[in-house]
């Protein structure tokens, strides 16, 4: 029952992702989005947050089912009353609490506008080369992770 409820909720907001959500609940969604060296949002009232989770993309509104999602390298879009902002995160976790507060902890997150496509392309080629020439299993895995993050970043920059 739970699984069904979640999949229904996950699907509905994604189709509505282009539109602003209406005043969903009286409490409103409160977002705290932090990386180790910087606090991007601290207990800010927002309308909707779209996250790229390992289990799939999802849009989170107030009164979303409480859950803990692992984030994959991808774009997090924060939709406020004033407008929307997109951040590329390298990974982390998003925790939706029963009191309509959402905590997103990411290892690194930057606005998508701040990336330069040229540098990403260059780094991606470098990482691909390294993943092919890596000797130990660990190096190969590290290079593959880097390639995955950079490919996702490239897709995010070109999608905007």
């Amino acid at each position: 029952m739970n699984f069904l409820a979640r999949s229904v909720r996950a699907v509905r907001p994604v189709r509505m992702v282009r539109s602003y959500a209406t005043e969903a609940a009286s409490a409103g969604l409160r977002l705290t989005f932090a990386v180790p060296h910087q606090t991007i949002f601290k207990d800010v009232s927002v309308t909707q947050v779209n996250i790229a989770a390992v289990s799939g993309d999802m849009g989170i509104l107030a009164s979303h089912v409480p859950s803990i999602e692992q984030l994959r390298p991808g774009v997090i879009e924060v939709i406020e009353a004033a407008g929307s902002k997109k951040f590329f995160v390298s990974g982390g976790f998003a925790t939706m609490n029963p009191d309509s507060s959402l905590n997103i902890n990411a290892v690194e997150a930057f606005p998508v506008e701040e990336f330069s496509a040229e540098t990403v392309r260059h780094n991606l080629a470098e990482a691909q080369r390294q993943s092919n020439s890596a000797s130990t299993e660990e190096e190969k895995l590290a290079a593959k992770i880097e390639v995955e993050v950079l490919e996702s970043l490239q897709a995010a920059i070109s999608a905007k």
């Binding site: 979640r6 932090a34 180790p36 060296h37 859950s67 803990i68 692992q70 976790f93 925790t95 609490n97």
Partner: protein
């Protein structure tokens, strides 16, 4: 440091001033120069620490938001440790000294917690000074020690490396308590624990069932929380240490200044006494003619 040494020296000097002669003037002068130099060193150390405090405090604000938001799950789910869980204490300090009571504060708090536990627990120390402190009483319990901590503001990469090393080191533990110095104000800090609960304790927490979670994600989540809490403890501990170092160096400079004043007075009095006695010799010699 300086305050404890000043008292005996001053009393010796004032007692012996009546019998002073020219020889000791040189001694006082040497001592005066030495203390002036020390005062210059502590003053510059204070200024360096002041600039570092500003940066460390800003990093601490971000780390606090990051760490407390990440650890809020424990509070929200009403997590408590399970019975018979292996505990490990992670004492977060640094390699550097001259920072007041920072290292002894975390060590004392850890010892107090270990005594309240009853059974002996494993200890992991972050920082050589913490290792020295804990070795005094619990040398056998120290399983792992890290150094090269405290030179700069701790980064998340360092915290991750530490968490990784701890996890793969074979130290058996279910729940961890990170003891660090909480930055309560610019002049005060307090040793505080951060509890990192085991995945089992989290699953057993009563309000945790409300959260939807894939099982394979739970283990990753736990490791993530572990690294986040270590990061938080390291960064806030670093900020407390910088502020304590600033205070300690400020006190040291003030004490050195006071000693210089006192010694200068003594020096001048000795000098004048020597001149007076010479004059007296000359005058009595002249009046005898």
């Amino acid at each position: 440091m300086f305050a404890s040494r000043a008292q005996p020296v001053a009393s010796v000097l004032s007692a012996g001033v009546q019998t002073r002669n020219m020889g000791t003037l040189r001694e006082i002068q040497l001592r005066l120069n030495a203390i002036k130099n020390i005062g210059k060193i502590t003053k510059s150390m204070k200024m360096i620490a002041s600039t570092k405090v500003g940066k460390a405090q800003r990093a601490m604000e971000s780390a606090r938001v990051y760490g407390s938001s990440s650890a809020s799950i424990y509070k929200n789910a009403n997590t408590v440790p399970l019975e018979n869980e292996d505990k490990v204490y992670i004492v977060s300090s640094s390699d550097r000294g001259l920072c007041g009571g920072i290292h002894s504060s975390v060590a004392k708090a850890t010892r107090r917690m270990m005594a309240a536990d009853g059974a002996s627990s494993n200890v992991i120390v972050l920082g050589d000074k913490a290792k020295n402190q804990m070795s005094r009483t619990n040398r056998g319990d120290i399983q792992l020690s890290f150094n090269q901590i405290g030179k700069a503001i701790p980064t998340f990469a360092e915290a991750c490396a530490a968490a990784d090393t701890i996890k793969t080191s074979g130290v058996k533990f279910d729940t961890a308590t990170i003891v660090y110095n909480e930055f309560t104000s610019a002049i005060a800090y307090e040793a505080t624990p951060i509890n990192v609960y085991s995945p089992e304790a989290l699953k057993a927490a009563d309000a945790f069932a409300a959260y939807e979670l894939d099982d394979e994600v739970l283990e990753n989540y736990n490791e993530f929380l572990f690294a986040n809490n270590i990061y938080w403890g390291l960064v806030e501990g670093h900020a407390s240490e910088m502020s304590a170092k600033r205070t300690a160096m400020e006190n040291a400079t003030k004490n050195a200044g006071e000693m210089v004043d006192r010694l200068t007075m003594t020096y001048n009095r000795s000098r004048q006494a020597a001149i007076t006695s010479e004059l007296v010799d000359i005058i009595t010699g002249a009046s005898a003619l």
